[in-house]
């Protein structure tokens, strides 16, 4: 039971941080190299875990548990009561999230080659961020989860505020304020649960709160449960984000450096979905079912709101930011359906959107590097000078709008399949979003790549050296999931089975 595999995986970027601390500030090449290499151990370990799971290894073997701290003097009564453990573990869902995080972190580290200054500080923060993200998905209790969750906030704040674009400070502060408030709400939920049940272990909470007559220090009434679930919905709704809590996220998308947005949009937003599924749906299944209609409605609102606003943006980064809001609506739609198809669709969408938005933001960084603008009114005809970039951008857009054969379709399809079973009318309204997604993405992408080319872009260089790796890996994974969805559905089988109504 006690392996240190996961601790190694989660903390492996620390090695890079230490190494970087001893390096001179000016050695650009060395720093970048160490920065990228430091993300690789986690990727290798995560992939190894994935493949050995496919090879039949039991995920429970990865669990580890060490006593950490204890509150009060309940040790004599029950050594577990009010005790916090350092406990990491994996199940199918968190395995997928860990693999996604590790792979995207490596690719984002490559994309960070476009960073122009203070590489040392940048990569140290970057690696710290990675530790936080990996920890969030492996933590087995709420307090540890919260700790890792907070670890992601601080490096993000500095990465946005220091290495971003023109309005970076403002973006960094609105990031901190919103997420800080979200964390505060989350902390209240965790503390109430801990105080009332004496444990913060997720599995234990699931059992305690959903067994009739379970022995608890203080009983938890249904209305309290509902209150806690709504608080969770707000806390993770900020992260996801759910309308109208999204404005901080738009600023981050536009102002943060694209390599960081790859992680932000690809992984950090997904913590919101992860939290809702793992804690909201996992710990409070009955209350979640009662809120299902509300969540589905919020999902459709997100989907349509994001899509219609993406349609009139002139900055391509804004288009993608609103598109993220819209796509997170599909996650909510799947969760609101609250049946097997919907939940599996939501989880698929979490992974799929992570890959697709990482791809699109990487291409934004490639583009910005060369033409120094992302305003679609000033761009056009890039297919002439950069046919490969233009082609991949179009492929990314197709994936995002749910073209079959790519991952976006499978997730969108399952989410809607689930919702049509429960609320067909609402689902039919949501389908307008499918059309609008095509409308705004084609409008933006064709405006950039098609049309007449300006002379000023003559002699522009296409994809080069290190830029190939992220593009090919991401497209490869997107197509793999689209064609052979079992790579995701198989680890999820035991999780999805029997979930929901």
């Amino acid at each position: 039971m006690n392996s240190i595999y996961l601790s190694l995986l989660v903390l492996s970027p620390l090695l890079g941080i230490v190494l970087l601390a001893f390096m001179p500030k000016t050695g650009e090449k060395g720093i970048k190299l160490v920065g990228v290499l430091a993300t690789l151990p986690a990727t290798v370990l995560a992939l190894l875990a994935y493949f050995s799971y496919q090879g039949g290894k039991d995920l429970a073997d990865y669990g580890e548990k060490v006593r950490w701290m204890q509150f009060g003097s309940f040790g004599q009564l029950d050594p577990n009561l009010f005790t916090v453990y350092y406990e990491l573990g994996l199940d199918g869902f968190s395995l997928l999230m860990v693999v996604l995080t590790a792979v995207l972190a490596s690719l984002a580290a490559l994309a960070s080659f476009h960073i122009k200054r203070e590489w040392k500080g940048y990569f140290m923060l970057f690696l710290l961020l990675e530790i936080g993200m990996l920890g969030v998905f492996t933590a087995q209790n709420l307090i540890l989860f919260f700790l890792f969750f907070e670890i992601t906030l601080i490096p993000m704040f500095f990465l946005i505020g220091k290495w971003g674009y023109f309005n970076k400070e403002k973006a960094a502060y609105s990031f901190l304020v919103y997420n800080g408030l979200g964390s505060a709400v989350l902390l209240i939920v965790i503390m109430v649960l801990f105080a009332k049940t004496g444990t913060s272990n997720i599995e234990a909470l699931k059992v305690f709160l959903n067994t009739e007559g379970a022995q608890l220090p203080t009983p938890v009434s249904d209305s309290v449960k509902m209150g806690l679930l709504i608080a969770l919905l707000i806390a993770f709704g900020v992260k996801l984000p759910i309308f109208p809590l999204h404005s901080w996220m738009l600023r981050v998308h536009v102002e943060a450096p694209p390599s960081i947005v790859m992680l932000h949009s690809g992984v950090l937003l997904k913590i919101g979905a992860y939290g809702l599924i793992r804690f909201g749906m996992g710990i409070f299944p009955e209350q979640f079912a009662e809120l299902a209609v509300l969540i589905a409605v919020l999902g459709v609102v997100n989907l349509l709101y994001g899509a219609f606003l993406a349609f009139i943006q002139t900055d391509f980064k804004m288009v993608l930011a609103y598109s993220s809001i819209s796509h997170m609506g599909i996650v909510l739609i799947g969760l609101g359906a609250n049946n097997e198809a919907g939940i599996q669709g939501a989880i698929f969408q979490v992974v799929s959107h992570g890959l697709i938005s990482a791809l699109l933001f990487f291409l934004v960084s490639v583009l910005y590097e060369r033409v120094h603008t992302t305003n679609i009114n000033n761009l056009g005809g890039l297919a002439k000078g950069m046919p490969l970039t233009a082609g991949f951008l179009l492929a990314g857009a197709m994936a995002s709008l749910g073209l079959p054969g790519m991952s976006g379709f499978v997730s969108e399809f399952m989410a809607f399949l689930g919702l049509f079973r429960e609320m067909p009318i609402l689902a039919a309204v949501g389908c307008i979003g499918i059309i609008m997604t095509a409308v705004y993405l084609l409008r933006a992408v064709l405006a950039i790549t098609y049309g007449r080319s300006d002379r000023q872009y003559a002699g522009i260089s296409d994809l080069r050296s290190f830029e190939w790796a992220p593009v090919l890996v991401l497209i490869g994974l997107i197509v793999l999931i689209g064609v052979y969805p079992a790579v995701l559905s198989q680890p999820l089988e035991s999780i999805v089975l029997g979930l929901g109504g």
């Binding site: 502060y173 609105s174 304020v177 919103y178 408030l181 105080a195 009332k196 220090p217 109208p244 809590l245 999204h246 404005s247 709101y305 219609f308 606003l309 349609f311 009139i312 097997e340 198809a341 599996q344 005809g381 297919a383 002439k384 197709m398 073209l403 079959p404 054969g405 379709f409 499978v410 399809f413 399952m414 809607f416 399949l417 049509f420 079973r421 067909p424 689902a427 039919a428 389908c431 307008i432 499918i434 059309i435 609008m436 095509a438 409308v439 084609l442 064709l446 790549t449 098609y450 049309g451 007449r452 969805p485 079992a486 559905s489 198989q490 089988e493 999805v496 089975l497 029997g498 979930l499």
Partner: protein, 623 residues
């Protein structure tokens, strides 16, 4: 038949191979594309022959996606309709691949063109082989992308960009209908498989309203893809793509996918009188509506495009009138003669250095000694002149409509046939006869790579009709419905006068065109000068595009602007509120940090007192 799944993989291989190595191969790319589609063609023919000899269909499947306990499968099926479609698609695709070697010669992105053709052919063949609705939908979307990429092939032209976008979005509107219909069916039947759906329909386990609803939703998908009214406007605009593409995608194969879909789900439609009537009415209306627009167009490709829309309407009309065989038969003959017409038009455009306006053409009969007669053969076939293929298939449709009792739609169809004969011969006379109406430069017949595929199609445009005639036997029809009663009869008996009427009507159309555009004994503006308003409406395609721009596009923008208003005031307001509260807290907090030890001390003791009080009152933990 067990290896039929290989058929779509050859063009897929061509797509991947050319994406990777096309740049180095340059125009050698054509050989890869041509050879691989030839392989598909050979396999398709083998499968067709095997299916003709075999007593039953073949189906193989494997699990594709597991959702909890649900298992969605993927696989392939060979039945009569599939096998026929495989040959049509791979044959036209092969011919277009060959033709394009000449037509696209000298283009910078020659290899990209062939790669896209491969992608499209793969998707179309995959669509045809699909044994269930989900897989059909997957390939349905992929053919849409192939079409999108090829319409926008000349990406630097703003018109091509607009046309590609329009095609994608308008067909997607239809696709959403298909998606909803298929999901609703799934929750009724518990499966996407065609045979299970049909079994459920037959067993009566789906309510009548549900059948009607899902059938109409599926039909909406077909309307989008087949350019039926009111989602037809993308198809004429799609002519911005290279002409071989127009022949392959926007005449012979993809746009026929809508008809194919209705045919493939025919037992579902047949179970609902309302759904059948909807299909028939939309089809008949589109047939006459598009034909009337075709009367007044001056771009050679656009005339053909409207004629395609109109002919697809014919096929829908046939299916909606329970004429399964007639619809599929016309789909086949149309694929051949319309592909021929487009390729011949491409040959004209090629010879005239990309001139497309027929007002500037004329007198090309002698200058293009092969293209001219081939174009004439296609024109005779589409006009329904006896002994050509279109004559037999159109006749079948008219009989089916009459036998079904749709007399009003029958009249519409006959008028549409008159229009068709007229505008096609108008086109022919204006392009090939008389004197050139503008300097045409050096006009030369196209190379053999272009003319040979046209010759093959020309032969087919004549003989393809003889597989199903009232005179020599209805082989095709009998075979198509063999072993499946839900599809109706292989041949529907109709009164003999229908054939005579059809012939007379088409000859009348030809004669009128002859008087106006060849003999010129009837002034060209005889009609237009008498009804200028009607003419203007028809010439402007009934202002449908303008109407959409003013309604749908405008409404979408309005919604977006309204939401932006909400975003600016409500959401940003919330943001300001949050930020304001936080900074207010911070400010008031900092006021306490005034450096006075007494104040700090008082706060500390007060706090302790309050805590002790609470502790004393509650007696321990707060619960």
């Amino acid at each position: 038949m067990e290896n039929a799944w290989l058929i779509p993989l050859f063009p897929l291989l061509s797509f991947v191979f050319l994406l990777l190595f096309g740049r180095k191969l340059k125009e050698g790319s054509a050989y890869a594309g041509i050879l691989l589609t030839l392989a598909s063609l050979v396999f398709s023919v083998i499968v067709l022959v095997e299916r003709m000899a075999a007593p039953a269909s073949y189906k193989a499947e494997a699990v594709w996606l597991k959702i909890g306990e649900l298992e969605l499968t993927a696989g392939f099926e060979v039945n009569q309709l599939n096998a026929l479609m495989l040959v049509i698609v791979s044959l036209v695709s092969f011919l277009v691949h060959t033709y394009s070697k000449g037509y696209m010669h000298g283009d910078d992105r020659f290899h990209v063109f062939y790669a896209y053709l491969g992608l499209f052919t793969f998707a179309m063949l995959g669509l045809v082989l699909s044994p269930n609705l989900l897989q059909t939908y997957i390939f349905w979307e992929l053919v849409g992308v192939g079409s999108f990429l090829l319409i926008g092939f000349y990406y630097f032209k703003n018109e091509a960009r607009a046309a590609a976008k329009k095609a994608f979005i308008m067909t997607r509107i239809g696709d959403v209908g298909l998606l909803i219909g298929m999901i609703l069916l799934f929750w009724q039947v518990g499966s996407f498989e065609y045979d299970e759906i049909f079994a459920a329909v037959e067993a009566g386990s789906i309510s009548g309203t549900m059948i009607t609803l899902t059938a109409i939703l599926i039909f909406i998908g077909a309307v989008g893809k087949s350019g039926q009214f009111p989602l037809h406007t993308w198809l004429p605009d799609a002519m911005e793509g290279p002409t071989p593409v127009s022949a392959l995608i926007h005449a012979a194969t993809m746009v026929a996918a809508g008809v194919y879909l209705v045919a493939a789900t025919f037992p579902l439609f047949a179970a609902s009188e309302t759904a059948m009537m909807t299909v028939a009415i939309i089809g008949a209306f589109t047939a006459i509506f598009a034909a009337s627009i075709g009367l007044a167009q001056t771009n050679i490709k656009r005339v053909l495009a409207y004629s395609t829309v109109s002919q697809l309407g014919y096929m829908m009309l046939a299916l909606g009138s329970a004429g399964y065989v007639a619809g599929v038969f016309h789909l086949m003959t149309h694929a051949f003669f319309k592909a021929l017409l487009f390729l011949a038009a491409g040959s004209v455009i090629h010879a005239l250095h990309h001139k497309q306006n027929i007002e500037e053409m004329g007198g090309l009969w002698k200058k293009l000694p092969l293209t001219g007669p081939l174009f004439l053969m296609g024109t005779l076939a589409i006009s329904g002149v006896p002994l050509f293929s279109g004559f037999f298939s159109k006749d079948e449709i008219l009989i089916a409509v009459w036998a079904h009792g749709n007399y009003f739609l029958f009249i519409l169809a006959v008028i549409a046939a008159f229009f068709t004969a007229f505008y096609m011969f108008r086109l022919f006379f204006m392009v090939f006869t008389g004197e050139a109406r503008s300097p045409l430069g050096n006009v030369q017949e196209s190379p053999a790579t272009m003319t040979m595929p046209m010759v093959v199609l020309g032969v087919l445009a004549v003989v393809a009709g003889y597989v199903n005639t009232p005179w020599f036997g209805t082989f095709l029809g009998d075979w198509l419905v063999e072993g499946n009663e839900a599809l109706g009869h292989g041949h529907i008996e109709g009164p003999a006068w229908i054939m005579i009427v059809a012939t007379l009507v088409s000859l009348a159309g030809i004669f009128l065109a002859y008087l106006m555009y060849y003999k010129k004994s009837l002034a060209r503006d005889w009609f237009t000068s008498r009804a200028p308003i009607t003419y203007s409406i028809v010439r402007n395609k009934y202002f449908i595009d303008e109407f959409y721009n003013l309604s749908v596009v405008y409404a979408t923008r309005s919604v977006s602007l309204f939401l932006r208003f909400i975003e600016l005031f409500l959401v940003e307001g919330l943001m300001k509120l949050v930020a304001g509260v936080v900074s207010l807290l911070g400010k008031s907090g900092s006021r306490f940090q005034n450096g006075q030890i007494q104040t700090y001390g008082m706060a500390a003791f007060l706090g302790l007192a309050v805590l002790l009080l609470i502790f004393a009152l509650t007696g321990g933990y707060i619960g």
